[in-house]
Structures are given as structure tokens and as C-alpha cells.
């Protein structure tokens, strides 16, 4: 408790009081733009609200998640997101996408970081070059790659045919067999730089003397990497992987633009927005958004609980 104003405040108390006033605008802003909308989304998931009548929804409990009716014939019909094949398909797409893309990004990012950590002529230029994919807006990269992957006029098919890697032109983004591959390629291309920069920051914190003494002892570079470098950059790498995984789990724009309406790539965010805005199943979409939120929250809690990473950055 703060002392009453009749007593002189101690310096520390004064500072704390000022700090509280400084925090109020930020906390208020986040409460209005994040906490309240999140609470409303969760609430909508338990109602039958529709897009055209946002305030006319009735409380329906868990019906959007799961409900069942027994027909007169005795058969039970289940409905709701949890028995919706479209939803589980989206869950599977999202998880598959997140696992594959983040694994590739971690490995490739590490390789690029190792290259950039070596001293060579033109290193600055290479670092500038890898920043370009990161700087390009996702929508733009989706369009650029959409053009390169075009089935008839795309340069990927042209190159593949010329090099003899392909025997015929492939509709990369339209065919269900390759649509996910296209999404993965574009995402890996775009976000490996981010991974590489975080890995590089970790690599640069390792003192050079360690490498020199390994060299003097004649240890093979591959062994040095696995027994010295990797354990030392692991904290940085782990944080990068967590951030990327969280990002990958909520992917929306790339899928929406590069492979529209392809059930082979539809992710949880895409299907939730589709229901929310386009299909006039506002409450149903809210329930799906809530499920995605829960998945991501569980993931975060799991990692904090593992205690491997100190996210608050204190006491380090």
C-alpha cells in the first residue's frame, strides 16, 4: 500500500507510484485490444451469434464444439467442430506444416548462420541478401512465388523441364499433391533468414578461443560443431524455434493467397476465418478460434513448464 500523502513519500515509493501511472496507458490499450476481444471470442463460441446479428446470440453451451441428437430410430447424430472432418483436416495441415517448416528452417538457418559466422570477403553483402526474403511482405512473396510456380507460364516448370528434373508441367499450387509442398517452400524461403539471424547472434556469443583450442587439439570440425557449438547455441536456437513454431501454428496469409480453397493446405486460421466471415457461421468460427488459441496456449505453457528457456530474460 502507498502511504497517505500527508507523510513524505520515500523515494522508492515515489518511483513505484510514477511507474504505475506509466504502465496504465499500455495496460489499458492491451486490455481493450487484446484481453476484451479474446474474452468476447471465447464467449461467442458458446452462443449461436451470427455475423448479421452480433447481439442476438443465445447461449448454447458446448453445442458449437460438440452436440448430439438421438433420432427416433435410435441412431445418434453428432455435430460440432470436434466431429467436423474439415476441422481435423485443418488441424492436421497446421501441425504438419508447423513441424516440417520449422525443422527445415532450423537446419537451414543454422547452416546459413555458420556460413555467415565464418570470415570471408563479401560477408556483409551476403547478410544483406538474406535479409531480402524477410523484408518482402508475405502477400507479395505469395504472389511472386505463385507466378514462378504457375502451371503454364511459371519459371519453375520451365527450369525443371530444361534440366530434365520434370517430365511434364506441374500445377504446383492447384494440385492437392503439391499444394502443401508449395506452401512449405515459400514459407521456408521467407523465414529461414529470421532463423539464421537468431542463430548467428547465438554463434557470435561463443568466444573464438574455444574454436582455436579445438583446432590446436586437432578435433574434427564436425565433432566441434556437435559437441561444442551446438550445445552453446542451443538456448538461442530453442527460443528461435519456439517463436517460429508459434508463428507457424497461426499461419494464414500465405495459404489464403497462394493456394486458395485447397483443402490440402487449409489451416486452422484459414478455416476459422472462413466460418467467421464468409460462411456466416460466426459462432462456429469463434469456437474454432478458441481451440487454436488453446492449442497455442498449451504449447507455451508446456515450454515454460519444461523450464528449458527463461522467457522473461531475468536472472540470467
Amino acid at each position: 500500500m502507498l502511504p497517505s500523502s500527508s507523510q513524505p513519500l520515500t523515494l522508492q515509493a515515489q518511483r513505484i507510484r510514477a511507474a504505475m501511472w506509466f504502465l496504465v496507458p499500455m495496460i489499458a490499450a492491451l486490455a481493450i485490444t487484446a484481453a476484451w476481444p479474446l474474452a468476447r471470442t471465447i464467449y461467442f463460441g458458446f452462443t449461436d451469434t451470427s455475423l448479421t446479428d452480433l447481439y442476438g446470440g443465445q447461449w448454447v453451451g458446448f453445442d458449437n464444439y460438440l452436440n448430439w441428437r438421438t433420432l427416433s430410430s435410435g441412431r445418434v447424430i453428432f455435430r460440432g467442430t470436434l466431429v467436423d472432418p474439415g476441422w481435423w483436416n485443418a488441424v492436421w495441415n497446421t501441425v504438419r506444416f508447423a513441424v516440417i517448416s520449422v525443422s527445415f528452417e532450423a537446419v537451414l538457418g543454422m547452416i546459413v548462420a555458420l556460413v555467415l559466422n565464418a570470415e570471408f570477403k563479401g560477408r556483409g553483402l551476403v547478410r544483406a541478401a538474406i535479409l531480402i526474403p524477410w523484408a518482402i511482405p508475405t502477400i507479395v512473396s505469395a504472389r511472386m512465388w505463385g507466378w514462378m510456380l504457375n502451371d503454364q507460364f511459371g519459371m519453375i516448370n520451365d527450369l525443371g523441364l530444361k534440366l530434365g528434373l520434370l517430365s511434364e508441367k506441374i500445377a504446383w499450387t492447384a494440385s492437392p499433391d503439391t499444394a502443401m509442398l508449395a506452401i512449405l517452400v515459400v514459407d521456408i524461403w521467407k523465414t529461414t533468414p529470421f532463423m539464421a539471424l537468431l542463430c548467428l547472434a547465438g554463434l557470435q556469443m561463443i568466444p573464438r578461443e574455444i574454436y582455436e583450442s579445438c583446432k590446436v587439439d586437432g578435433i574434427h570440425p564436425v565433432r566441434v560443431f556437435f559437441s561444442v557449438t551446438l550445445p552453446l547455441v542451443r538456448p538461442a536456437l530453442m527460443v528461435a524455434i519456439i517463436f517460429r513454431t508459434l508463428d507457424a501454428l497461426r499461419i494464414f496469409d500465405l495459404v489464403y493467397v497462394l493456394t486458395p480453397n485447397s483443402s490440402a493446405t487449409k489451416t486452422m486460421s484459414v478455416i476459422a476465418r472462413e466460418n467467421l466471415i464468409e460462411f456466416d457461421k460466426f459462432a462456429y468460427g469463434s469456437a474454432q478460434s478458441t481451440l487454436l488459441f488453446l492449442l497455442i496456449a498449451l504449447f507455451v505453457i508446456f515450454y515454460i513448464w519444461l523450464g528449458r528457456v527463461n522467457l522473461s530474460g531475468e536472472g540470467r
Partner: protein
């Protein structure tokens, strides 16, 4: 043996550079083609015509979309920096109970999926009468720019020496004066970095922009590019799309290259240390 190793290394470097740059290069090459030559695959520039650029800038609402994007991004940056500077001073320099928890909450807000707030924000935007205005975007972008700016500025401020502040406190300066006269002059690098990252975030945002605006004149650039289409599905105007893409990307790439070091420092402060 050494020569082999070195050439292999430079080969790897070459691949990294080519893969990074090629898609953008190819978009630029395509954007300068006209007519049917667009449908011919060329790896080198063959024609150099501004037709696509003129088409994009003269027809329709693209110039308006660019203006919208600039307006939204700048205001988002200014507002989130304004809120974040004072908040991060409190979080970095004053110790109070619950600080760690508050920081963790802020971090988790920056991590949660935007779709989770979409329905609630949609209602709020409608309620406030902001639907289909740039203000709906400035309002909603706070969700992801504010936590991030607070986080990075807090890490930055925490690393500044304590002595700086002590002298000012002894002189009886109030916290507002301390922020304005002691910290702000030192914080320019961090402000530029976080401002730039927030700008890029707002400039690139798609989900909210797609949902909260509904007419050509209020859309931002990413939505405009995503929805750019021809009369039918088979008549996608690739030339115009590439020209529009180049127009919105070039300023960004230039900014990123100029502020390369600062951006890398900001990203790693937000990621590794944070």
C-alpha cells in the same frame, strides 16, 4: 584440398545469395514485360517497358491503397512507441511486485494467434463505428506492435547503467523529466529499430486488413495486391501484380538494407535475449 574446400564454401555462399534474391529479381524482370512476352520465361531482362507500372498507378485505387498503408503504418508506430516508452521505463528501471508476471503476460500477448481476437475485435470495431476506416486497423494493430515494442525497449533500457539515472534523481528530477532528458536521447537507436520493425509489421499485416476494410478506397496494399484480379480466373494480370509488388517492396528493401545492423540487433533483442 584447401582449394576444394574453399570453392565448395563459395559455392554454398553463391547458392544462398541466388536463392534469396532470385524470386524478387524475377518479379522485377516480369514487371517490365508487356503483352504476351510475359508468358515467355526469360531469365534475363529482355524488355524494359513501364506499362505495367503506369497501369497500376493510373487505374483503380492503388495509389490510394499506398496512401492508406503509409497512414496506418506511421500512426501505428507513433502510437505504440508513445505507449511503450513510458511503460518500458517502468518495467526496466523500477522494481515492483508482479513485474516478472506482467512482462510474461505482455510476451504471451505478442505470441497469441490473431485469429483468436478476430471475432471480438470485429464486434468492437463495429461497435465503435470504425468498420471500413483506417482507424480500425490502427486500433487493431496495437495487439501485435505494442507488446513487441514494450518488450524490445524494456530489454534495451535494462542494459543502460544505473548511474545515469542516479545523478538525475539526486538533482530531484521527476520520472517524466528523467525519461525525456536522460533516456530519450540515448534511446534513439532502439526507437529507430523498434519503430522500423513495427512499421514493417503494420505494412505487411493482412488478416485484420482483409477483415476490417471492405471497399477499394479503404484497403491497404497487401489486401489490394491479394485481391488484384482480372475479368476471369484465367486472366490474372500478372504484369500488374508484379509491378504492384515491386512498388511496395522496393522501399521496404531499401529501408532494411540501410538499417541492416539495427534491425538485426532489434530482432535478436526481441528473440534471443527476450
Amino acid at each position: 584440398m584447401r582449394l576444394v574446400k574453399q570453392s565448395l564454401f563459395y559455392f554454398l555462399v553463391g547458392i544462398i545469395v541466388v536463392v534469396s534474391i532470385f524470386p524478387f529479381y524475377y518479379a522485377v524482370v516480369t514487371s517490365f514485360k508487356t503483352g504476351t512476352s510475359i508468358f515467355q520465361v526469360d531469365y534475363w531482362p529482355t524488355t524494359f517497358a513501364w506499362d505495367n507500372y503506369l497501369a497500376v498507378l493510373q487505374q483503380g485505387s492503388f495509389p490510394r491503397n499506398i496512401f492508406n498503408s503509409i497512414f496506418v503504418a506511421i500512426l501505428t508506430v507513433v502510437l505504440s512507441l508513445l505507449f511503450a516508452v513510458t511503460a518500458s521505463y517502468a518495467l526496466a528501471r523500477v522494481s515492483f511486485r508482479g513485474r516478472g508476471l506482467l512482462l510474461l503476460t505482455i510476451l504471451s500477448v505478442s505470441m497469441f494467434p490473431q485469429i483468436a481476437v478476430l471475432a471480438g475485435l470485429f464486434e468492437l470495431v463495429r461497435f465503435l463505428g470504425l468498420h471500413n476506416t483506417p482507424w480500425s486497423l490502427i486500433f487493431s494493430y496495437t495487439v501485435f506492435t505494442l507488446p513487441f515494442t514494450v518488450w524490445v525497449l524494456t530489454t534495451f533500457m535494462r542494459d543502460l547503467p544505473m548511474e545515469l539515472e542516479e545523478a538525475a534523481i539526486v538533482d530531484g528530477a521527476s520520472p517524466v523529466v528523467i525519461i525525456a532528458q536522460v533516456f530519450l536521447p540515448l534511446m534513439w537507436p532502439a526507437l529507430v529499430t523498434t519503430g522500423l520493425l513495427a512499421f514493417i509489421g503494420a505494412w505487411n499485416e493482412f488478416l485484420f486488413a482483409l477483415t476490417f476494410t471492405s471497399s477499394n478506397s479503404t484497403r491497404t496494399v497487401p489486401v489490394a495486391i491479394a485481391l488484384l484480379s482480372g475479368a476471369s480466373q484465367h486472366e490474372i494480370p500478372w504484369g500488374s501484380i508484379m509491378a504492384a509488388s515491386v512498388i511496395v517492396t522496393v522501399p521496404l528493401v531499401i529501408l532494411v538494407l540501410i538499417f541492416q545492423r539495427k534491425i538485426v540487433a532489434g530482432l535478436t533483442a526481441g528473440g534471443v535475449k527476450g
